[in-house]
């Protein structure tokens, strides 16, 4: 890249000194620090003369001039990392001892402009190339590693299982309120639901790697951008596909067992859930590529999970668990929705036309606000009209968790790493609201058992 006048103009404010680097007579690089003054209009950098015959930079030959800055944080490390490297020829200034560099090439990095995580992600292809080279040099397959536990956690995105546990627990709680509860059926349902969810996560990585969506996304966060284990070379595509299939096999196996034990009507729900999960990113449907990812997730991790869990306990379908899980479904869709904000440039590049890819910032923020309002309004309407138990109104106390998310979306929409705390808060919003809905049912169950005639607000 040819250095721009803006780059040269900024050198004085961003760096305290320059380092002239040249090759000495014995073929070794030799560096000498000096003061400098940039002249953006002339496209030059004036460097103060250095003393000593042995360290005189050569005139008329290519040299490298480096500007580097960090700010030490004693006892911790440092921040404000930035550097600029210029290449060009040196000349002696007219009528003086000063040296003048006319740079023809520049390279650099400033962590305030490109955060370290993004800088690292942009360098992943170089890392893969290096592993290939070392493998070729040594004759063995050299790959990056992680301990099995961390690798499993990362590859499956295990912490996101709360998205499955919340609607299943809610369906079980509604069934328990209706006098049906079996702990071992509950446990099987949780394991089966978790297996399907993990299978979806892992297949999602397989298809996002195949489509190029993960590679195009250079702003992954701990909440978005996939597990990246295939992209990093930690696990092969084949092993991930096998892992996902194994999870699906376990989930489907448990589903079939539960259907055999509790009623074959469960199969339809299970098939719908598995198909939504698989075709979330898999061709030919690729629901998430068509802007249907949020709806698919809302249905799959809301009514389908809750209704399935309810059916396993009660051996029948009912309206109440479906209604109770709608707020949970909306909130899980909002997790996806917010996490897609930092992914949107990479998603767009790979043809993954999610809602944040399609919509403007204003529309995305407004959509989030309306969805949150709808979530809590539905809880109120359902509870007040006796469609779900009234103690579920306790879930309203989770609503303020949405405020920092809205604020962060407004203020940090284009800053993926500044959005991370808001993404965490958004996950809390789903988890806390969902668990409070479960608590609402537990309160109603206890009130029913303990009181002959519970007051209206407890049932």
């Amino acid at each position: 890249m040819k250095p721009s006048p803006e780059l040269l103009a900024g050198l004085g404010a961003r760096f305290e000194h320059a380092v002239i680097v040249f090759v000495d007579g014995e073929g070794y690089p030799l560096s000498v620090a000096t003061d400098f003054r940039a002249d953006p209009e002339r496209g030059t950098v004036e460097l103060h003369a250095v003393a000593g015959d042995e360290v005189q930079p050569p005139l008329g030959e290519q040299v490298n001039v480096v500007f580097s800055h960090i700010r030490p944080q004693p006892g911790i490390g440092y921040d404000e990392r930035r550097y600029v490297s210029l290449w060009g020829k040196l000349e002696r200034a007219d009528g003086g001892d000063e040296l003048v560099l006319t740079p023809d090439r520049a390279l650099g990095w400033d962590e305030e402009e490109v955060p370290f995580f993004e800088y690292s992600e942009r360098s992943v292809p170089q890392a893969r190339r290096y592993f290939e080279q070392v493998s070729a040099e040594t004759g063995r397959d050299v790959r990056p590693k992680l301990s099995f536990g961390w690798l499993f956690l990362r590859a499956t995105r295990l912490p996101f299982l709360s998205a499955t546990f919340v609607p299943i627990l809610l369906g079980i709680a509604v069934a328990a309120y209706d006098d049906g509860f079996s702990w071992w059926l509950a446990l099987l349902t949780l394991v089966g639901g978790a297996a399907i969810h993990l299978g979806v996560n892992v297949f999602n990585d397989v298809f996002d790697t195949q489509s190029g969506a993960d590679e195009a996304n250079v702003n992954p966060t701990q909440f978005s951008g996939g597990s990246r284990v295939i992209l990093y070379g930690l696990v092969s595509m084949r092993k991930m596909a096998l892992l996902a299939s194994a999870f699906f096999a376990v989930g489907i196996g448990i589903g079939v067992l539960l259907a055999a034990l509790r009623g074959w009507d469960l199969v339809w729900l299970g098939v719908a859930g598995a198909l939504i999960g698989f075709f979330y990113t898999a061709p030919p449907l690729r629901l998430v590529h068509r802007g249907l990812g949020e709806v698919a997730v809302a249905v799959g991790f809301g009514p389908i999970m809750a209704l399935g869990a309810y059916f396993v306990q009660a051996r029948e379908y009912a309206l109440e668990p479906a209604l109770a899980s709608i707020p949970v479904g909306i909130l899980i869709a909002l997790i996806l929705y917010v996490n897609e904000v930092p992914d949107r440039l990479g998603d767009a590049a790979s043809g993954k036309r999610t809602l944040p890819v399609r919509w403007s910032k204003e529309a995305v923020v407004r959509g989030y606000e309306l969805a949150v309002i709808a979530t809590f309004a539905l809880i109120v309407v359902f509870a007040v009209t006796d469609l779900i138990v009234r103690p579920t109104l306790i879930a309203l106390i989770a609503a303020p968790l949405a405020l920092p998310v809205v604020r962060a979306l407004r203020e940090s929409y284009d800053q993926p790493y500044a959005l991370m705390p808001a993404m965490g808060k958004n996950i809390q919003l789903h988890l806390v609201t969902g668990l409070l809905l479960v608590v609402g049912y537990v309160i109603a169950i206890i009130a029913d058992a303990a009181l002959d005639n519970p007051p209206f607000f407890l049932h």
Binding site: G52, V63, P72
Partner: protein, 161 residues
């Protein structure tokens, strides 16, 4: 007392960043800011595979230099500037854990490294690292950082490997 003059050893003991210059496959100079370590004989730097072009360059041409020039990046009572030329080798025999042999030296300068290492799962490729070992052969010292005065030049024996 190591193989380097004492003022340069003091600089290496506290410098949070130095400029490593290597020659690329076309003989062009490429400089990388890195945190240097020193054990009395060899200078060590580590490089993530993410930023491994320098490793390829060193394998092709081991002639390198390391300079310490930034007063803000050095703690201590006095600030000198130094450049050390030497021959480098790349140890990438165990990219996953081999570099941890310099971890005690790293920890002394940058205690936060342990916190980052604890989050290795979040940055797995950053912690796949090679070690660059420089055997010093010549050093230049500018007292008080003044390069308007000639440097003291030290011819060094180098360390047999």
């Amino acid at each position: 007392m190591g193989v380097l003059p004492e003022p340069i050893e003091e600089l290496l003991a506290t410098a949070l960043v130095g400029e490593l210059t290597v020659l690329d496959d076309e003989g062009r100079l490429v400089t990388h800011p890195l945190i240097p370590f020193y054990d009395g004989e060899l200078i060590y730097l580590t490089s993530s595979v993410l930023f491994s072009r320098k490793l390829e360059h060193i394998k092709a041409n081991p002639k390198v230099s390391l300079s310490i020039t930034d007063p803000a990046a050095v703690t201590g009572d006095r600030f000198d500037r130094a450049t050390i030329q030497g021959d480098a080798i790349v140890d990438d025999s165990d990219l996953h854990a081999g570099w941890e042999r310099v971890l005690p030296l790293w920890r002394e300068k940058e205690p936060v490294i342990d916190m980052f290492l604890g989050k290795r799962v979040a940055l797995p490729l950053f912690f796949e690292r090679a070690v660059i070992e420089i055997s010093p052969r010549k050093a230049f010292l500018w007292k008080d950082g003044r390069t308007d005065l000639p440097p003291n030049v030290f011819e060094l024996a180098g360390v047999a490997r």
